[in-house]
């Protein structure tokens, strides 16, 4: 992957198991600089503090859900450039459309494979490179 291996990721999911899995997969892909948040509200706090370059988020979470987090990121001037990849069990077409319209950089449905994550990340990095 062409992206900087020091790139700082924020993994947002209310289940610690899923955060651990995503963190491990990112590590496999060479990204070791990963922080975690257990819902959108905590994620937003961490993002506001700065230093993150990539957000991987679940949708259905307490306090603040992933879509709201995404919308908030897109409407915040100093965060709106952040790539946001959604990894979620929500599989209704309207979910996918809503996420795309809100400006998601990618959408992965659970259960997912390491290959899918790698592929989506590559795609997002390609787009970022072009931009």
């Amino acid at each position: 992957m062409a992206a900087d291996p020091k790139m700082r990721f924020l993994v947002v999911d209310d289940f610690s198991t899923m955060r651990r899995i995503v963190r491990n997969l990112l590590k496999e892909l060479g990204f070791t600089n990963v922080d975690e948040a257990e819902d959108g509200a905590i994620a937003l706090q961490k993002l506001q503090a700065g230093g993150f370059e990539f957000v991987v988020t679940d949708w259905n979470m307490p306090n603040m859900d992933g879509l709201t987090l995404l919308q908030t990121i897109r409407s915040t001037p100093h965060l709106k450039h952040l790539p946001v990849l959604m990894i979620t069990a929500e599989a209704k077409k309207e979910n996918i459309i809503a996420a795309a319209q809100a400006g998601a950089s990618g959408y992965i449905v659970k259960p997912f494979t390491a290959g899918t994550l790698s592929e989506k990340l590559t795609k997002i990095f390609e787009k970022m490179g072009k931009a």
Binding site: T17, R20, I21, N24, W59, N60, D65, L67, A89, E90, A91, K92, K93, E94, N95, I96, I97, A98, A100, Y107, I108, V109, K110, F112, T116
Partner: protein, 287 residues
């Protein structure tokens, strides 16, 4: 109300209705309402009790009706002369609905079924908590095992790589006799020590991962039981609903964006079933 220790909730419900009713009437009528309540509940067995509750409720309503007509209602209610008849209509309707629901439930023998299922729900909650707990433990065990195993594998991988590179040099005649002797010795040590130790570690972690799957047997049993319960409850409630609810339009499915995983996608075209479909959809939308 000593005979009714089996249904405290029902009793509380009744008390609250009785209290409202007696608050709405003159003090002189209060004892009679209470008496109806007390005697009816005290004299009943478990399901007759419900019957009497509704009887007393429905007799209380006409009583209020009369009082309203006589202008005996307390201030506030009497002052708002328009509000009371409306409330009365609502009370009557609720009373009739409850009556009809009650008759249906008893008539069809569902009271016992509902009683059974209601008492089974707290048990089902505990069982589900147990499932959540076991699956979480299993996930943690597996993740811990891989945390241990992955560095060991990486280490083996890099060690074999280093040795292999040196063997390549030997085959290219680039090693002296002394270097070759050292390589042979190191390789032997690697095979005898590192390889043995590390594969033993990996074996132990694989066993750990295997054993972490023991939850499936336990959760499977528990989930099957809850499935049966849900089916009974659904069947019972559905029959009651069909009896009680007149031909009403089907309530629309609640539209929500937070539904969790799709359990059964068969026959649905509003959901995707794999990542390919997600990608196709996004592509078709130009994303």
């Amino acid at each position: 109300m000593t005979a009714t220790n089996d249904t405290p909730d029902l009793e509380a419900l009744f008390d609250s209705i009785a209290a409202t009713t007696s608050a709405a009437v003159e003090p002189s009528t209060k004892p009679s309402t209470k008496q109806v309540a007390a005697s009816s509940i005290a004299s009943t067995g478990d399901s007759d009790e419900l019957q009497d509750l509704f009887d007393s409720f429905s007799t209380a309503v006409p009583e209020q009706d009369k009082l309203a007509a006589d202008g005996l209602l307390p201030e506030g209610m009497a002052a708002d002369s328009d509000a009371w008849p409306k409330q009365e209509v609502v009370f009557n309707q609720i009373g009739q609905m409850a009556r009809s629901l009650h008759d249906t439930i008893c008539g069809l023998g569902y009271d016992k079924l509902l009683e059974k299922t209601v008492s089974a729900i707290p048990d089902a909650k505990d069982r589900l908590a147990y499932v959540a707990n076991l699956t979480e433990q299993a996930a943690c065990k597996v993740l811990n095992a891989t945390d241990v195993a992955v560095p060991v594998v990486d280490d083996l991988n890099s060690s074999t790589n280093i040795l292999a590179n040196r063997w390549d040099l030997l085959f290219e005649n680039k090693l002296s006799v002394v270097e070759f002797k050292a390589l042979a010795e190191e390789t032997r040590r690697f095979l005898r020590q590192d390889m043995q130790q590390k594969t033993a570690i990996l074996h132990a972690q694989l066993t750990e991962i295997m054993m972490a799957q023991d939850f499936q047997d336990l959760t499977g049993q528990v989930i099957k039981k809850i499935g049966v319960l849900a089916q009974e409850l659904e069947g019972g409630l559905m029959k009651v609903l069909l009896q009680v609810v007149p031909e009403t339009k089907r309530t629309e499915e609640v539209e929500s964006l937070m539904n969790g995983p799709v359990i059964n996608a068969e026959g649905r075209n509003d959901v995707v079933v794999n990542q390919e479909q997600v990608d196709d959809l996004l592509e078709s939308l130009g994303f």
